[in-house]
């Protein structure tokens, strides 16, 4: 009977022992999403990129830091391995060798870019920050994912991102200063040859699909007012149909070679709700 008593005693002790919680608990890390390291900034984006306009050149940078707010990320997949940052002066493309950049650098995130050791290059009229210039392919090499957060420093969030409202004529007049800026064009519509098509062909057919959009003023399509809207086959909206109305479109304007191109971030950038020109 003594043994039996011990068993009951043991059960009680064990119950206490079992309920003692060894399980580890963790407190949430501090929310640094609004933290700004306030790094010293030496130059604005306009002054940084201006020397590269219209010259096919590249340069390894010294100890310079710029700052800007992310205006386009890769959330929908229409941008891939790049983010676009703007300050009040201009915009620039940053080539990063990583997917899902939006988890670190979502639209509205202020960032500092430490340019030391990185390269700025004009690649076919796209001025961008990259890791290096590849002399063999003569292309920019994106910043390796591992090095990303040591040179692109995330700062405060969120900042309201407001596109610069421009006229179609502006992109013809100042294509370089408008490059990689988030802009809004009004009175645009999908060219009649592309009506009812999806935004892009699937990625298995084409990485990127051009769709022409036209300017429409007072019910008249301007012959010289068209622009190529480039959409990625990897974008999650690739199979959605292009809207048939007229209205505003927001996105990133850039040059590629001698042509102009326009990229939206999501379909909400396309507000074609008014009646078409024709």
């Amino acid at each position: 009977m003594k043994n039996l008593a011990s068993i009951f005693g043991g059960v009680i002790i064990a119950a206490v022992f079992f309920s003692s919680c060894l399980k580890q608990s963790y407190s949430n890390p501090p929310d640094l999403s609004n933290y700004d390291p306030n790094l010293p900034v030496q130059v604005n984006i306009h002054d940084l990129v201006k020397p590269f306009w219209a010259t096919n050149t590249h340069r390894v940078m010294g100890d310079t830091t710029i700052t800007g707010v992310v205006v386009a990320d890769d959330r929908t997949g229409n941008f891939y391995k790049q983010i676009i940052i703007n300050d009040s002066s201009a915009g620039i493309n940053i080539a990063l060798s990583s997917s899902y950049l939006y988890s670190n650098y979502p639209i509205g995130r202020k960032v500092y870019v430490k340019l030391k050791g990185l390269t700025i290059m004009n690649y076919k009229n796209e001025v961008e920050v990259c890791a290096s210039y590849d002399p063999i392919t003569q292309k920019p090499v994106a910043i390796p994912s591992t090095l990303m957060d040591s040179c692109v420093i995330a700062a405060s969030f969120p900042h309201t991102v407001v596109p610069r409202e421009i006229r179609y004529i502006d992109i013809l007049s100042y294509p370089d200063s408008l490059s990689f800026l988030l802009v809004k064009l009004d009175n645009m519509e999908v060219d009649s040859n592309y009506l009812h098509l999806p935004y892009a062909a699937p990625s298995t057919i084409a990485i990127s699909t051009p769709r022409m959009i036209d300017q429409c003023i007072n019910g008249v399509v301007l012959a010289s007012g068209s622009l190529q809207l480039y959409n990625s086959g990897f974008a999650n909206f690739y199979s959605d149909s292009l809207p048939s109305g007229t209205g505003s479109i927001t996105g990133i304007f850039s040059r590629y070679g001698s042509g102009n191109q326009f990229q939206i971030r999501d379909t909400t950038d396309v507000q074609f709700y008014n009646a078409r020109c024709k």
Partner: protein
Amino acid sequence: MTQKIGFKALVLFLTGFLVMSGRAMAQQTAKIKGRLVNSNSGDPIGGLTVFTRGTGLHTVSDSLGNFILGNVPYGITIVSINGDFVNATDITVSVDSPVLDLNTIRIYVGNVAFAEDATGIPTITESADGSGASENGEGAAVYAQGNNKGIKDFYAGTLTNLSIYDNYQPRGMRRNTREVEINGMPMNDAETGLASYAQMGSGGLGDVFRNHHSSYGLAPSDFTFGGLAGSIYYQATAADQRAGTQVTYTNSNRTYRNGVMVTENTGMMKNGWAFSASFSGRWAKEGYYPGTFYDGKAYYLAASKKLGKGILNLTTFGSPTVRGKTAAATMEAFSLAGTNYYNHNWGYQNGQIRNASVQDVFQPVTVINYDCRPSDRTKWNTALGYEFGKDMNSGLFSYNGSSNVIGDYYRNLPNYYYTMVPPDSIDGNAVKAYLKSHPQKMLLDWNSLYNSNYGNVQTINNVGGVAGKSVTGLQSIYVLSNRVSDLSKFSFNTALDHTVNQNIEVFGGVSYVVQNTEFYNQLSDLLGGNFFVDNNQFAPTTAVPNPNANYNNARDPNAVIKVGDKWDYDYSIRVNTASAWGQTKIAWHRFNIFLAAQVGNCAFYRDGYFQYGVFMNNSYGKSATHNFLTTGFKGGVDFNIDRKNVLFLNAGYTTTPPSFDNTYISAPTRDFVVSNPTVQTNRSLEAGYFYNTPKLKFGAVGYVNDETNVTTIQRFFNDDPSVYTFVNYVMQGIGTRSTGLEISLDGKIVNAFGFTASAFVGQSFFTTNPTSSMYLDNDTTLHPVPSQTYIKNYYLAVGPQSVYSAGLTYRPRKWNFAINGHYLDRNYVSINPNRRTQAAGGFYSAGSPQWHAIFDQEKLPSVFTMDLHTGYSWDMTRAITGVFKKVHHNTTMNVNLGIYNLLNNTNIINSGYEQLRFDFTNYQTARFANKYTYGMGTNYMLNVSFRF
């Protein structure tokens, strides 16, 4: 009288012609019985193994110390008694009458500490990386129990020490081919076939799971037909536990640091009751491997009551365990991290270590069994068992499916740049230099994961498919979630063992198992966010556009997921198995013959609870049922040349059902099965010779096991932009062969000195070139074009296929020392079959160095290790009697210390595998390099126990 006839009829039914044929034979065997008691106290000792040398006959003493050994051939025989905490005792007897009663045999208790080590579960069964804890070490431990041909002692000292090899499979036999029963309840999972050692507390219940008997390979068992790798029966009722109290403290530097186990048993009391309870706790804030922790508790409660001609037992046990896991890595990652114990699963959160890959398992077992002795010649055990509970394995999941936050994700490492064509060494070098100077980048950055979630304000529209219902808040990009398997298993099993006469013993049984396992992903931590969204991020790029393709569950589209919610997938598998078996053992002149047969049926189906958007019509609800009829036959003969020399030969033919996982192409997403699912066929042959004297034991066994018609399905994630989904790699028509030789030598040199030596050399390899098909989770193609693999003659990854060991033992009174050295070689990495296809050869000509790099199988470096075991046993009764006035029982203290890998070799690669992804663009094997795990350096386990 009528009852007796009915009973006999049953026996005849089960064994059929075997009995008929047996009757004709000469009657030249006897029963030996006796009673084992403690030489000091006179208390009975249960749970000791009693066997006769060289015959394969064995039994276990019951709680009253009684044993009966049947079928012993006439003549001079050595009866051996062995067990934990006792001195092995040999008694030479002359058998010349039908029943030989040895009466009371006094056993000296408490000297052979080594026995605890060789058979004792606690010290040897941790796998190196902790991940396969249970299965691995167990393989070695059970193997150490040996076959019942008398050779088991030979194996004991050797294979127990291979615990650094978590993938070691003796004879190349898969772990799920060994049948495990506890008190008659079949423990093997009806789906996977695995009997997890974790179910028995991973050693935390070592006190109560000591009594067991096992058979190895084709050798006959007394309670089941047995699997290819044999069987093991744990006799763990309250009545089987020796009266007394035992307290054990364990200290180790392995997966846990400290352990305490307390066991209290009443033994069989005069009122016919017996009770037993055992509890243990083992823990480590950090185990040997960085970032791992261990929190294991275990309990066992049992009651027995004498009832009629038997004992009715109720036994329940379980072991809630939570532990942090490790992961394999490439050589590059080990080198960058500067340690062979690099583990990408963990990182710091606010300065505190946190592991993302945690197993949390609790699957308690309850068995009711009635162990009946209708006569002294008949044992009949019937068990009803129930097991339930969850096995949860956590992981980090991202909304977009990315793994780029993992430290050694291949695109984050320099090799990604070095293996570009042409190589980008500038960036490769920059990344390398950066990682070398920022080692924390190889770990998880929890703070960064939280901050990604803190900044992701999103609005989800049409939540649950309800128009206009929207939710706005922090949508987690990264979450922790548990892959859960939730088990519920009922089993019924009855087995009979009847001694017909001195020559013939017949066995038979019936078992039925109904199992339901639900698999789902259950969110466990939002990591600072407010909710998660259950959408299929992989569908858009590959599926034919379909309005539901984005939904993992179209019945709940855009589901907003909170902690505790199921997401991703949710389905059950329901398995029913039924089987009946019969066996007879016949002693005839110098021969011991056995014949056994089994017939069974396995049926399973899938029941989906989610309607997967890509496969709307094949994911929700019950699938068709798949039925498999299986049979098994085996038999063998021992020829006792004389009492020292034995020859044996066993052969077997069995068919086994394919597992559910190897039948359903992608169970999480749909109910498609492979074409013509079929049973697999196994043919086995083993033969050997044993020489047995008290001074020298020698054994040599050869074996060959062939398996044909095997189907396997390997599932992996391919993040190539052109695929970007889970790939299910189906291979059909696989054949394998395992053949080899096992040689063992065990002898006494002088007095207390002894030696052991053994060699296990085998070859386990593929014997066919099966076809393979790739099914993508988001691809609705019904029949992808199969391709031909060329894997014939490649090795299976079953651990070292050459194992040589030698050891010295020294066992003076109260002390015990053993030192062993092992040389292990021919350990091969697991191959990626897709690399042995015409497509993988690319543009390289056969025989070129690049071709060899793709097609050759890597052999891991050979290893030499040494282990030391020491034990001390002290009968404290006299010493403490002076201190405490009244001492109930004898009190013994045992100290055991095992030190493994004495040379502190931290470069032992214990397993490796080829990644299932292959660079089909540039055919560079280095792009997705092999991954490895390293065994522990010097590690130890110290046990101090008191028994009173």
